[in-house]
Amino acid sequence: MKLVVYILKRLGLMLISLFMIVTITFFLMRSIPGDPLSHMARSLPEQTRANFMARYGLDQPLFNQYLIYLRNLAQGDLGESLAFPGRSVTETIGRTSPVSAQGGGIALAIGLVIGTVLGIIAALFRNRLPDYIVMIIAILGVTVPVFVIAPLLQLVFAVRLGWLPTFGWGTPRHMVMPVMVMAFLPIATYARYMKSSMLDTLGQDYILTAQSKGVSETNVILKHALRNSLLPAITILSGSIVGIFTGAFVVESIFSIPGIGTHFVTSIHNNDYTMIMGTTVFFAVLFVVMQFVVDFIYVLVDPRIKLMHETH
């Protein structure tokens, strides 16, 4: 029962957030001085201009435009590109986002696994060499920006060694470097987080109980410590997903990957307002839904959370 109320509450909050985001983005984008045409530096005859405005519904009063936008949005229609007339925003997002999801998903999975393993190693070998090495990797991963790592890898693996293609997309060989770059941040984040989480768990009473019962050290770590310290790591998953998307803007541009990140950066350069807005709304929806899913999984797998909700 509590769970149903919780889900409904979160769903409601999610819809309000999305509505606010769409509204704010819409009016902000419309408040840019001048009309979209003047930004594209096109001088058009009066009639062509009027046709153009009518085509994008820009001749309507602002509030009507807003209502039309909301209505179309509810039907999944994000409008038509300004820079490339005839190109649907929804279709473009549908075409480019799977590419990003593929690269980003693999990077996130690799990052999660390696980061978690490194974090556990650091916790088990606390204040010894493996711990120091992992912490150096973690600090470098957080502090060295992706646009520094990416060209560095290109220089080493593509130019000097010639093992991998410098940029492009399509074959697994193309994916190696972008995935490596994108996985770097989650590796660092998870290594740091898992280390402290694991140390925290190892200090708990039930670990001492297990040890005093004579459970072997391997079993204590695998059956008791690992499972319990993995749980809190779920909470930072939504942050890592955002990190992957943010990183994708840069990584995709550097490696010329036809994903949504490259596409977003291109539409910014083209002043393609409908495209920028559509992509922003898409990112917002994606993020809000991801956050909801992650929180929901956390409530499902950790019984302590449910207990806390009931006692309060």
């Binding site: 920006p145 955002v242 943010t246």
Partner: protein, 308 residues
């Protein structure tokens, strides 16, 4: 036997001064002094502080000592590797990179530090109001905050950069801070609520300390340490975001420059002139690294629970 050893004359009555009884013999160690003492023992944090001071110093004097202006275009000296005349080499317009790296550093560090400070001040006010008034005000303000927090701040940053147009220091700062206060606000609210219910506040109340003094002397200092640490950790994030904005063309506009803008410009010709990217990139990494390590040390030094 003992009695006979020491003659009575050796003893002297010096009396007891009532007013001196409560005197504290040792000099008082203030909170900040104590924190500084512990920070000094942390070698990593001190090394990070030295690097930071050096970087800031170079940003101030660097552009003056190179003998070149950061806008000076020299077609005869295009894409030169580092030499005795151009210490970091030149870019594709023949501009001196040493000067440009430090001029850009000014922008990057100023943006990073000011954005973190602005976000912290707004956050303290917002979180403080939430915790102080409580009740309905708290509920409504936290709901508003949750809506802000439900979208990655980078989206706000990009949208505001586009809307504000004409990127300069002010517009970039506004764009960076639109959603950045959310973190500090939550932090301050949580901290304030937690401290309000702690025993030492109760003790102070029982001793009859006025509410104003409790807030000023007990609650604010305990919140401040957390905020200072949060600011230190936020600075590298803002430097990175600014670099990211410049990278996608929404940041600092030419002829002005920042580390991010320098990296973005060098990226296209990285294969041929790697040194053009090396210097600004290493500066970004070094600054972010130093702030993170210094923040780590500061967090340990400011945490009263770690006091020995």
């Amino acid at each position: 036997m003992m009695k006979s050893d020491i003659p009575k004359e050796k003893f002297e009555i010096i009396g007891a001064d009532e007013s001196q009884q409560e005197l504290i013999g040792r000099a008082r160690v203030s909170y900040m002094k104590d924190a500084w003492r512990r920070l000094k023992e942390n070698k990593t944090a001190m090394a990070a502080l030295v690097v930071l001071c050096f970087l800031i110093l170079m940003c101030i004097i660097g552009p003056m000592i190179s003998g070149h202006s950061f806008e000076e275009i020299n077609p005869a000296h295009r894409n030169q590797p580092p030499s005795s005349e151009h210490w970091f080499g030149t870019d594709r317009l023949g501009r001196d990179l040493f000067t440009r790296v430090w001029t850009g550093g000014r922008v990057s560090i100023i943006i990073g530090v000011s954005a973190a400070l602005i976000a912290a001040v707004v956050g303290i006010l917002y979180g403080g109001i939430c915790a102080y008034f409580g009740g309905m005000v708290d509920v409504i303000m936290m709901r508003i905050l949750e809506i802000f927090a439900s979208v990655p701040s980078l989206i706000y940053v990009v949208i505001f950069s586009i809307v504000l147009g004409n990127a300069n220091l002010t517009t970039i700062l506004v764009a960076l801070c639109v959603a950045a206060w959310v973190g500090p606000a939550r932090l301050v609210r949580g901290q304030m609520l937690q401290i309000r219910n702690q025993e030492f506040v109760l003790a102070a109340q029982a001793l009859g300390v006025s509410s104003f003094k409790i807030i000023l002397k007990h609650m604010v200092p305990n919140t401040l340490s957390v905020v200072i640490v949060a600011i230190t950790f936020a600075v590298p994030g803002f430097i990175f975001t600014e670099a990211f904005l410049s990278f996608i063309g929404l940041g600092v506009q030419p002829p002005n420059t920042s580390w991010g803008a320098l990296v973005a410009m060098a990226q296209s010709e990285f294969m041929f002139f790697p040194y053009q990217m090396f210097f600004p990139a290493i500066m970004i990494a070094l600054t972010m690294l130093s702030f993170t390590l210094f923040g780590d040390g500061l967090r340990d030094a400011l945490d009263p629970r770690l006091r020995k």
